[in-house]
Amino acid sequence: MERGTISAVTTVRHPPAGFPDEPRIIGLITLDGGSSVIGRIAGISPRIGDRVVPRMSMERVNEQKLRAYDVVYEVAAPAALQEDPFVFEGYILALTGPSGVGKSTVSKVLSSALSGIVTRVPILTTREPKDGDDGEYLYVTREEFIRLEDAGALAASTRIPSVSEDRRYGYRTEDICKIWNEGRVPLVVTEMHLLQGLARSFGRRSILSCGLLPPGTSRRAMLSQLLHRLRTRGRDSEQSIADRVRNASSDLDFFSHRKELFDHLLVNDDIDAVIATLKGHVLRTQEDTR
């Protein structure tokens, strides 16, 4: 039984025949593995973004006195955010794209080009440090990561599907809030689960969300471009590259399935042009929010 996060919740005032005649809280829960499930939520006024833990519960007794047990989800940690989710604390600049599209490079160049405005948020990871890393990661053990996740300290987390290892990435709420308190804009690089997690925790409207697409006019061209980049940067093993390309394919679908999660889509064919465009978006948003 997997833990998860509430992605939608309702209180059914008139449950169907056979269920206890009292308001029943039911949620759509995104499990940590990425799939979704509908289940009863045990807890008082649960909210979207709350972490939940599964347990068995006797849900009803039928006329023949047979007891029916089902999985229910207990709120483990309320979503770490202010009372009203629509109070605008500040905004997050998010760069989303498949592995190898150049997110880290764009994020590095952009943070120095806008050094007076944006700060990169450290990425919490359970993977081993590598040569190409340049201080963007905070390394923790898998146990520590799960502890932080269950304590509700992570604004977003994801497990990258991989045949070779169990890699987890996440962002701590406190890191993002600290950057806001300094009056600056947190800059994050995300993939589909991290972006959705941030949208759950802080509200979609708190994110200036930019998608980065590889160059190429077809899906096949985009994927071969990514493969080429992953090979030439020399950071990953062939095994890991195979995993990444497989995941990149679903990342590309995400751009079309969840268009509403993006404010801008950019093709990363010319880094200078991409930086200039992103800079323009940030400066305009700075003016709008002032």
Partner: protein, 385 residues
């Protein structure tokens, strides 16, 4: 030959002119004194009279119905309806939850285009009010996923409660804004003599009605109704009204199987393909009848049909600036929603609206479940016959 993304080749989809030659319906409402067969008979004879034909001109019958078997104990609705006519034409019943009516129309188009029939009677009918609420709720839950949705104790209002909670979270829609939707539909229903509710409902009373499935309240939900509607389609009898497109699309039954719950892929697919089939731009549509089973669905539908950006559907209800009319009949909320009848009745309403306004195109959007089946029809009115 150009292939559409899924399903039929678009060029072949409407390969005969299908004319709407007549229509009829019962008033939608609580008809404690009328059984399912009585409702069907009333709508059928009204349609035949309206078309100016005799019953013997009908070659085939398609009837859309969802819960006749569970609630009225009546299956075999095809044969039952056929027995109302003296010559017992071939007849069949189709089911696609709340989209049963429009899927019946779609099926009739197939019979006409394949030259199986020249003139088809399409009926949509449902009898819902003289059963217990729990029986109705459980029958309607047949539109959901019996393995993924129902075991947790979810109801249909609950499914749309989940959708509304997510939509409000993502787009910041407020309870007060959402109340404008039902209020507007009720306002429109006042002018429709066939509507179940013909009185004004203020946005405040929507907001303060009893909670059903938070954040949805009683007046966000379309009612339980009895009613039947019938239309007569023909490829040999000409009429100024022609079906320019009939498109059917489907999606996963359960919300747990979808990439997003604030947009319905079946609506996007069916509507987009219908516009292609009719060779029109969405801006040419003068009247739209959309499936507002719950207030939140109306907003999502407008966005999925790209009349508004994601999250901005409420603008059409708040500002009321659009040239196109939306649910001028009163929609499901104002007219009532005898589930199988709605999709047929929408086309009848469009015909009335196009004749009155002398406009050219109208679209009917009807879905089943939480958008797992969606059928879109585009009706074209030749103003100078």
């Amino acid at each position: 030959m150009r292939l559409s993304r899924i399903g039929y080749t678009t060029q072949e989809a409407m390969n005969a002119d299908v004319f709407l030659v007549g229509s009829g319906q019962t008033r939608f409402g609580e008809w404690w004194d009328k059984s399912l067969p009585a409702l069907i008979e009333e709508a059928v004879s009204a349609a035949i009279t309206d078309a100016g034909i005799t019953a013997l001109d009908i070659d085939a019958i398609v009837i859309g119905n969802m819960i006749g078997q569970q609630i009225s104990g009546q299956g075999q609705l095809g044969a039952m309806t056929s027995a109302l006519l003296p010559h017992r034409p071939p007849a069949l019943r189709v089911e696609a939850a709340c989209a049963s009516g429009s899927v019946a129309v779609h099926t009739a188009c197939a019979l006409l285009e394949s030259k199986r029939a020249e003139t088809v009677l399409v009926v949509g009918a449902e009898k819902m009010t003289d059963a217990e609420n729990t029986a109705i709720a459980s029958a309607l839950m047949g539109a959901g996923d019996s393995e993924r949705d129902a075991p947790a104790g979810l109801t249909f209002p609950g499914i749309f409660g989940l959708i509304a909670s997510r939509y409000m979270h993502d787009y910041g829609l407020t309870r007060e804004e959402l109340s404008l939707v039902s209020s507007r539909h009720h306002e429109h229903a006042k002018a429709n003599p066939y509507a179940q509710f013909r009185s004004s409902v203020s946005p405040e009373s929507v907001s303060s009605s009893a909670p059903v499935a938070d954040p949805l309240r009683l007046l966000d939900c379309s009612p339980i109704s009895d009613g039947a509607a019938a239309i007569i389609l023909s490829r040999t009898r000409k009429s100024p009204l022609r079906l320019a497109a009939s498109q059917l699309a489907t999606d996963a039954l359960s919300l747990a199987e979808r990439p997003t719950i604030t947009s319905f892929a079946a609506t996007r697919d069916a509507f987009c393909r219908a516009c292609e089939e009719a060779e029109i731009d969405r801006k040419e549509i003068a009247h739209l009848e959309l499936h507002d089973c719950f207030s939140i669905a109306a907003l999502i539908n407008l966005e999925d049909m790209q009349f508004a950006d994601p999250g901005q559907g409420i603008g059409i209800y708040r500002d009321g600036l659009q040239e196109m009319s939306v649910n001028l009949s009163g929609g499901l909320k104002g007219c009532g929603h005898p589930v199988g009848a709605t999709g047929v009745k929408q086309i009848r309403d469009l015909a009335k609206q196009l004749k009155a306004s002398k406009q050219r195109f109208g679209a009917a959007h009807n879905f089943g479940g939480a958008g797992a089946t969606c059928c879109v029809h585009i009706l074209e009115h030749a103003c100078e016959p």
